[in-house]
């Protein structure tokens, strides 16, 4: 272990530590621009210069490993002067346009210029002018401001795995560009906005909207996919202006997918801001009391076995818990949270969780994807798989139609026949899984939502057991969800009770008359095209497919407007927090159900969110473990029997428009139009031959 002295403090660090990291460990901050701990070291901004004794020149600390006995001076006159010089040079070509720059107030260059900037320029030559680039609808460019730290290039090459950005030319003529003008083909592209230490890359939808000090910052969790990325919601007044990622090493590290970041402009479009009742075929605005009374009357008049409820993809756990208590209290058993019809079994936790955990992917050495395209379904899980691939010694195989992941994957076949062959041990790839030390499989909703989904689940379970994926120290069986609500619903048992029906049977029942009253908790993705004469109540926040069919609309709150919990695909319970109030008459969802229970004369036994949560935790102790993984016990699930050889289909066709919020977002609409659903499907045009 090398011993170093930093500004007089002696410190022992791990071999291979860079000087900059050693300084950080010693609590000394070194200014830097190009260095980023998750990216490869470039060493090109020179801002991190320090003085090392017996070294003739100042040393770029980010790129220099410590040697035993190094005496490092970070505040010496030599180091300070070197940084002053570097700052002056960085500012030679940097425009002095801070007042009109969107980065103002959260700009590394601005901040560090306060410490190291010269009070006047000595550069008499012309500043260079660089043409702005078109990086698509999400990233705005102002390339005059670029200081060529190359963080954006490195991010796209390494983390996103999309080699489209580069530095052309050299010296003063160097430019960061795609060279052939085109949008960045990555679902993680906007992370380069966060990475850019200056105002060269800024957020296009957020351009000139607000200054950082005007914003109210709320730490919350993203619900637009099942990853449960940690986010910070920035709001001003009653409007969410932007969403930024928040560090969580176990989930999203510090990245965020583009949909989660930019779909929030859909929160101000097509909102349901007051109750409606359908009269004579038209939806008419009414007061809350009227709507609730109507719903209560219909519920009282309907036999409980003819009442059904479906929970949608964005539903929070508290809402589903209250709904379940209310409806089961009435005697209704036809509840389902699996609106896509996935044949998941809520009885065994291990059978529907991402047991390996997202961070655990880094310990795997072989991975089989079954009916899933993680790049579209969970971009950050895909980024983690790529990270594991880059570490080396990781083999990926996939069963399903052609995939464009960001790492090589061996395609074993289109569908069930390949899975059958693997389970029977007749597939050459089975050997790889059996010989791997930590094999894992990821089962997607594309494979589970088929009629034979329970047999697919059983086959995957058998394969996991046969390949040594289930051990005391390792669980390589994973289900990748696409909906933030799904795991929460399964944990709460929001599934058909004894004698109840599931989503398909409920919807068929609407047509045949077996279901007379259908309660939709933000369910927009199930097929509501033929719901016959059923009385449909839609509780949700957007005028989407569910609201279009509804007979009564109860306006609820979007995820940024309520304190609620979601459970991600790993089974991690994470609290979301209210950043703004719901618009108009809309209310937090659990309070709507509480009010309805009052109208029904079956008042739910809680008057506040803490009381509701206490009751929920008493019934489902797993919800007491916030942001933690409770490992699931292995058990029986799925059904035996061969899988239908038909090809799997992937659940997400259009990455940018998967839920009511993103469907209402103008930014997502632009992306969807440009990329035809996803960057991996982008047609190569013009000069791309």
């Amino acid at each position: 272990m090398p011993k170093v002295t930093i500004d007089g403090t002696e410190l022992e660090v791990a071999p291979g530590t860079t000087i900059l990291q050693a300084c950080q460990q010693a609590g000394v901050e070194i200014p830097h621009f190009c260095y980023h701990e998750r990216l490869q070291i470039a060493g090109n901004c020179r801002m991190c210069l320090v003085e090392v004794e017996r070294s003739p020149k100042p040393v770029a600390s980010c790129a220099m490993p410590v040697a035993d006995g190094n005496v490092i001076l970070t505040q010496s006159e030599k180091a300070r002067k070197a940084r002053h010089g570097v700052m002056e040079m960085l500012l030679l070509n940097h425009p002095l346009d801070c007042p009109i720059c969107d980065q103002g107030g959260e700009c590394d260059l601005q901040d560090q210029a306060m410490a190291y900037g010269f009070d006047r320029g000595r550069f008499d030559e012309g500043k260079r002018a660089v043409r702005d680039k078109d990086f698509g609808p999400l990233v705005a460019t102002s390339m005059n401001r670029c200081i060529h730290c190359t963080r954006c290039i490195r991010f796209l090459n390494e983390i996103a795995g999309v080699e489209e950005l580069g530095a052309t030319g050299r010296g003063e003529a160097m430019e960061i560009t795609t060279y052939v003008e085109r949008a960045l083909g990555s679902e993680l592209s906007a992370n380069i906005v966060d990475l850019c230490p200056v105002g060269a890359l800024t957020s296009k939808p957020y351009a000139f909207v607000a200054r950082p000090w005007e914003l109210r910052k709320t730490e919350s969790v993203d619900v637009l996919d099942a990853v449960g990325s940690n986010i910070r919601i920035d709001a001003r007044g009653d409007q969410v202006l932007r969403v930024l990622p928040r560090l969580n090493e176990d989930v999203n590290e510090e990245w965020l997918s583009d949909k989660s970041r930019f779909a929030v402009d859909g929160l101000v479009h097509r909102r349901l801001d007051r109750p409606y009742i359908r009269r004579g075929g038209r939806l008419v605005e009414v007061e809350w009391s009227e709507a609730l009374d109507l719903v209560a009357d219909r519920m009282k008049a309907t036999p409980p076995e003819r009442i059904a409820a479906i929970a949608g993809d964005l539903c929070d756990a508290e809402t589903m818990f209250a709904a379940k208590e209310l409806l089961q209290g009435l005697g209704a058993q036809s509840l389902d949270c699996r609106q896509d019809g996935a044949r998941l079994d809520s009885a065994c936790r291990a059978g529907y969780l991402f047991n390996t955990t997202i961070a655990g992917i880094e310990r795997a050495d072989a991975c089989l994807l079954i009916g899933t395209n993680p790049r579209r379904e969970a971009a950050l899980v895909n980024a983690r798989l790529r990270k594991r691939y880059l570490m080396g010694g990781f083999r990926v195989a996939a069963i399903g139609p052609e995939l464009n992941l960001t790492y090589p994957a061996e395609m074993l076949g289109d569908g069930g026949d390949a899975l059958n062959a693997l389970v029977e041990g007749n597939h050459p790839c089975g050997e790889i899984l059996r010989n791997a030390k930590a094999p894992m499989l990821i089962l997607g909703q594309g494979a589970l939502r088929r009629p034979d989904g329970d047999r697919v689940l059983g086959a995957a379970r058998a394969l996991a057991e046969a390949c040594g994926m289930i051990r005391d120290d390792w669980n390589g069986f994973n289900v990748l969800h696409v909906a933030a609500a799904r795991v929460g619903g399964l944990e709460l048992g929001f599934v058909p009770g004894p004698g109840g029906s599931g989503t398909a049977a409920i919807l068929a029942g609407c047509k045949s008359g077996a279901t007379e009253l259908l309660y939709l908790l933000g369910a927009d993705e199930c097929d509501l095209g033929n719901t016959g004469g059923a009385f449909v109540i839609y509780q949700g926040h957007h005028g989407d497919r569910g609201a279009a069919r509804a007979d009564v609309i109860l306006p609820g709150a979007a995820y940024t407007e309520k304190d609620a919990s979601w459970v991600n695909t790993e089974g991690r319970v994470q609290p979301g927090r209210r950043a703004t109030f719901p618009p108009g008459e809309a209310r937090e969802d659990w309070t709507i159900l509480r009010a309805l229970s009052g109208a029904l004369g079956r008042t739910l036994p809680y008057d506040s969110l803490p009381e509701l949560r206490a009751r929920m935790r008493a019934a489902h102790p797993g919800f007491a473990h916030i942001d933690a993984i409770v490992p699931a016990a292995w058990g029986p699930f799925g059904a035996a029997g061969p899988v239908d050889p038909a090809p799997f289909t992937y659940p997400v066709d259009d990455y940018y428009r998967t839920d009511p919020i993103s469907r209402a977002s103008p930014t997502m609409a632009k992306c969807s139009q440009l990329f035809g659903g996803h960057p991996d499907a982008a047609p190569r045009t013009g000069t791309h031959g």
């Binding site: 002018a129 430019e175 031959g689």
Partner: protein, 225 residues
Amino acid sequence: MMSHDSGPPVAQPEHFEFTPENLGRAKAHIAKYPPGRQQSAVLPLLDLAQRQWGGWLPLAAMHTVADLLEMPRIRVYEVATFYTMFNLKPVGRWLLQVCTTTPCWLRGSDEVVAACQRKLAIDIGGTTLNGLFTLVEVECLGACVNAPILQVNDDYYEDLDGPKTEALLDALRAGTPPPFGSAIGRQGSMATGGKTTLLEEPTPPPWQAALTASGETEEEKSDAG
């Protein structure tokens, strides 16, 4: 403000394919590198493509090279734009590269540039209307001893002045390039007035005499080594 904008985009061909002959050469270059490291061949391949396409490198050629080497296109763009020897726009049949770095400048490169400009009626960076000549200014060509230098395509014309440059341009225009090398007939980098030093027969170093005396000749020694 100074802009590095490279002007209006040029018309790009739709397709580029290596001729069978050049494809063979390309494969020979690729074979020099271990598997998985074939990207190292990007420079020779781009050069081959540029020569095949008449002295400039269209996007389609970069794409062909990228596909051949299984590397992302942007990595090829980066290489092609970094090196000034790759021309990203069409050039004349004769690419005139005048060195104007200090030694050439001291020896009269201004006259060479002026002669080219006068004779061809183009400025630095320009191409004559008939597409015969392109004139560019370059940094040191590494032939300072015979300054000033004008590189015409692959050949160095040395020891030029104004009139000699004009004569050279006339010959090029007529399609009869004169032999390259020194325009004043000096051999290699020898001084212009002939030898000024090392005039006498070289005397062998003392140790060689000692070796000869002991009967061991230079040849034997090298054989033994």
